[in-house]
Symmetry: C2
Subunit: 468 residues, 2 copies
C-alpha cells in the first residue's frame, strides 16, 4: 500500500482518525443525545432547504419538486430514527437468568446486548442527492446505532455534499459534539475508495451505487486481513408481473401509471420497473400497445451524469440487439427518449444479456405462455429489490407459485401500484438476494436499517455496574 | 468446472436436487410439523445413544462421559428449537397499516415477514461429533427456519455420521416427510466442498472448522455468480484477563479451574482460553506458578485426528520460537502434554505469530504493565468468540476501558468462570469479529441462530389470502 500512498490517502487517514477518536464516546452516548443530534440535523436541513435544493438541482437536474420531496423524506427519516433510538427498540436486552444444575439446562446468567460496530464508511449514491447522501438513511441509521460516519461524497453533486456537510459541522459545534461523529472523506478515485474501505479503523461499509463499483469495494472489504460487514445495494431490475385479469378493465390507466414509474427521475431509481412480465393473451397485447402509447412521448430530464447517460445507451443497445423494439424512440426531452423492448420468456431465461439492468427510462416486456413459465422468468431474475404482482387477488395454486417465486428473489413484493416510492417505516425491507444487496438479510430503508450497524454481545455473569 | 466433474460431483448434484425439491414444501410447513420433526429426531438420538456414543468414542477418542453430555445437549437444542418454532418468535410479522396522504408520512400497507433462505449446506465440525454435526445446532436451527439441510459429514467421524444419518432417514420415513429435508453429501475433498458451496440450488452455508478450510469455502461462496450468505466459525484465541485483585485469594483454585479449561477435550474447543493476560504484579507471578503446577501434570486423551495433532505441534512450536516456556512438557497421556508459554504485552502486540490459535492443550501468558496496555492486547486480538475478565467487580475508568475493549472484539464477555461451556439459550451469542465468525452479527449457538436462515420480505398491499 505504501507505494500508493499520497495526499489523498493522508487526508483519509486524518479523517478516519477523527472518526475513530469519537467512536467510544458515541457508542456510550445516551438515547437523548443521539436523538437531539438527529433532530438538529433535520431542522438545519430544512432551514437551508431553498439554497440546498437550488444547488442540488443545478448539479443533478432532478427538478425542484422532486428535490423538495427528497428533503422532506430525509428530514422525516432523521426524526424517525431519533424516535427509534428513544423507544430503545434496537438496543433491547435479552436477559436469561442463571439456572442451577448441570448443563444443558443449567446455565450462568447471560444478558444479550447490542453494540455499535464502530466507524462506518458511507458511500453516497448519485440518484438521491439528499436521501442516500451526506444525511441520508445510511448516515441516520448508523448514527442512531451509535457509530460515527465517514462520508464519501458522490462526484455527481460535490457542491451540495460540501454545503450539507458544512451544515452538519455547524450542528455538531452548536451541540458541543466531537467533529469526528460525521466526517467527509473526499475519495476521488477507485484507489482512494479502496483505501477507505480497507482502513483498519473502519468497522463497516454502507454503499449504494453501481454493480461494478460496488462489487469492487465489496471485494476490497473481503480482501482485508480482517474482513468487515459490507452493506451494498448494487442493482435491481424489479420485475412487474401483470396477469390478464388485472388488465381486463382500466388497463389504459395502469399503462399510464406504469409509464410514469418507468420514466420517473429519468428512470434513475433502484426500484424502477425494468421487466414487465405478461401472459400471452389479448389483454396483454392491448396493454403493450397502451404502454407504448403512454411512454413513447414522455420527455425526460437530463440524466445525473454524462457517464450514466452513456451507460444507459450502452445497456439499452445491448438489450436492443437481443430483443424487439416496441416503438422507435421519439420523445424529445433533455434526457434520453424512453425505450420499450419485447422478448419471449424462453429467450429471457436463456440470455443473461437480457437480464442486465438498464439504469434509465426503459423496460423490457417478457411474454410467457403460462404461470409456471412466469415463475421461471422470476427464478432467472434471481435477485431484485422488488417484484410487483398484479392480478393475484384470489387464492389458487398458480398464484401461490408466483408469490413464492417473488418472495424467493425479492426484498419487497407488491400486490398493487408500482415499485418506485419506498416508504420509511418498520415493516419496510429494501434489500434482497445478490445483486440487490451484498447482505440480503439487511435493509437500507426503514427502521430495521439500524440493525446493520449493531452486533450482539452476550455478557456472562456481568456485575450490576456493567448492565447499567 | 466441467473438467473437474466426476462421480463425487454427480452424487452431490443428486443430493442437492432432492434438497431443492423439498424446499418449497418445508418453507410452507406448519410450526407443528417442524416441531414434531425436531422432537422426533431428539428422541431417536436418545434411543440409540449407547450405540452412537460407542461409535463416536471409537472414532474421536473424546470419552463416553463427554460424549453422553454432548448427546444430551444435542437433544436439548433440537427440542429447544421445536419450542422456538411453536412460540413463533422467529416468524413474527411487523404490520404497518396504510396511512393516507403524501409521502413521506403517507404510505401503503406493508407487512414484514420472515422467509427461509432455501437449502443450506452444513459443514460438520470435527470436535463436536454430535452437537456441531449431523443433528447439531446448525441443522436444528436451519430446519426450524424452514430450510432443508445438505449435511457434509466430517472425515474425523464418518461411521458416526452415517449412523446418525440412518436414524434421520428413519424418522423422516416414519413421519412421512420428504427425504430431501435432510440429506448427506459425502464431499471427500476440497474440490467437492467447493462444488457443494457453489451449487446454484444452495442458498446459504454453515461451517465450523479450521481457518484455512473455512476461508477457502467462504471465498468459494463469494466467487459464485450470485454470492450467498456464509456463516462460518473459523477460529478464536479467547483471551482471559485476570486482574491482581481477582488473584488475591483463592488463586490456587482459579489456577486449577483454568488449567482444566485449557486442557478440556485436549484443548479442542473453539472457546478454549488461549491467551492469559496478567498485570505485572506479585499476585500474577504467584498465579503463573500455580497455573503451571496445575496444568503441567494433566494427562490428555488423544486428539481427534492425526492432522490436528500435527497442526497443534506446529502451532505450539511457532509460539515457542517467540516466547518463553513456563515449564518443560511433562505429562504422559495419550495426547500431547499441555504447554504454557509466556511473553510480554509489547511482543504480543508486535508479533502476529503470537496471536495464532494453538488448537490443543496450550495457552500463552501475556504480561502487561497497565490496564491501558491490557486494552491494547485485546485490540491486537481483534476478533474472538469470547473474552473473560476476572476482577472487574467495581466501576472504574480502567474497568470501563477493559469492558469496552472486550465487547469490541468478542461475541461473549465473561466476568467469572471460564469460557469453555456454551449455554443454549436466547441471550447466547457465539460469534464475533473475523476470524471468530465470517458473519459477526450472527450466532451459531442459542436460539438467535435461527435468524441466520431467514430473510425479511416486505409485502405491500398483500391480499388477505397471502397474509394467511
Amino acid at each position: 500500500m505504501s507505494t500508493l500512498h499520497n495526499q489523498d490517502f493522508a487526508a483519509i487517514d486524518a479523517v478516519v482518525a477523527k472518526s475513530a477518536a469519537a467512536a467510544a464516546f458515541w457508542a456510550e452516548s445516551s438515547a437523548a443525545l443521539r436523538a437531539t443530534l438527529l433532530r438538529g440535523l433535520a431542522t438545519a436541513l430544512e432551514q437551508q432547504q431553498a439554497e440546498l435544493v437550488a444547488i442540488a438541482d443545478r448539479e443533478s437536474g432532478l427538478g425542484e419538486g422532486r428535490l423538495n420531496g427528497e428533503v422532506a423524506r430525509t428530514a422525516f427519516q432523521l426524526r424517525g430514527f431519533a424516535s427509534e433510538v428513544e423507544a430503545g427498540v434496537p438496543f433491547r436486552q435479552i436477559d436469561d437468568q442463571a439456572i442451577t444444575g448441570a448443563p444443558p439446562a443449567g446455565r450462568p446468567r447471560l444478558t444479550r446486548i447490542q453494540r455499535p460496530l464502530g466507524p462506518v464508511a458511507m458511500f453516497s449514491a448519485s440518484n438521491f442527492p439528499f436521501a442516500f447522501s451526506v444525511l441520508g438513511g445510511d448516515t441516520a441509521s448508523a448514527l442512531a446505532a451509535g457509530c460515527p460516519v465517514v462520508i464519501k461524497p458522490h462526484s455527481g453533486h460535490p457542491e451540495l455534499s460540501r454545503a450539507v456537510f458544512s451544515l452538519v459541522a455547524g450542528v455538531l459545534r452548536a451541540q458541543g459534539l466531537p467533529e469526528g461523529l460525521l466526517t467527509l472523506a473526499e475519495a476521488p478515485n477507485r484507489a482512494a475508495g479502496t483505501y477507505l474501505v480497507q482502513h483498519p479503523s473502519i468497522a463497516a461499509v454502507a454503499f449504494t451505487g453501481s454493480y461494478q463499483g460496488g462489487k469492487a469495494l465489496w471485494q476490497a472489504a473481503n480482501d482485508r486481513t480482517r474482513p468487515i460487514p459490507f452493506f451494498g445495494e448494487l442493482g435491481s431490475i424489479n420485475p412487474l408481473v401483470a396477469l390478464p385479469r388485472a388488465l381486463e378493465k382500466d388497463s389504459e390507466n395502469l399503462a399510464k401509471t406504469l409509464a410514469v414509474s418507468i420514466t420517473l427521475g429519468c428512470g434513475q431509481f433502484c426500484t424502477s420497473p425494468g421487466v414487465i412480465v405478461l401472459l400471452d393473451s389479448p389483454h396483454s397485447h392491448r396493454f403493450v400497445a397502451q404502454l407504448g402509447e403512454a411512454i413513447a412521448p414522455i420527455a425526460t430530464h437530463r440524466m445525473l451524469t454524462q457517464g450514466m447517460q452513456q451507460g444507459f445507451e450502452s445497456a439499452a443497445a445491448a438489450v436492443a440487439a437481443n430483443a424487439t423494439a416496441v416503438f422507435a424512440p421519439q420523445a424529445d426531452g433533455a434526457g434520453p427518449a424512453p425505450r420499450l423492448f419485447a422478448t419471449d420468456a424462453a429467450s429471457f431465461i436463456a440470455n443473461s444479456d437480457l437480464r442486465e439492468e438498464m439504469f434509465g427510462p426503459a423496460a423490457l416486456i417478457v411474454t410467457a405462455q403460462s404461470a409456471a413459465q412466469v415463475a421461471e422468468v422470476l427464478d432467472a431474475v434471481g435477485g431484485t429489490l422488488t417484484t410487483t404482482l398484479w392480478g393475484l387477488e384470489s387464492d389458487s395454486e398458480e398464484n401461490r407459485l408466483l408469490v413464492r417465486s417473488a418472495q424467493q428473489i425479492s426484498g419487497r413484493v407488491l400486490f398493487s401500484g408500482v415499485p418506485t416510492g419506498v416508504a420509511v417505516c418498520h415493516a419496510q425491507q429494501h434489500g434482497g438476494p445478490w445483486p440487490a444487496s451484498t447482505a440480503p438479510q439487511s435493509t437500507s430503508v426503514g427502521y430495521a436499517a439500524i440493525e446493520r450497524f449493531l452486533r450482539p454481545v452476550a455478557l456472562q455473569d456481568a456485575p450490576a455496574w456493567v448492565l447499567g
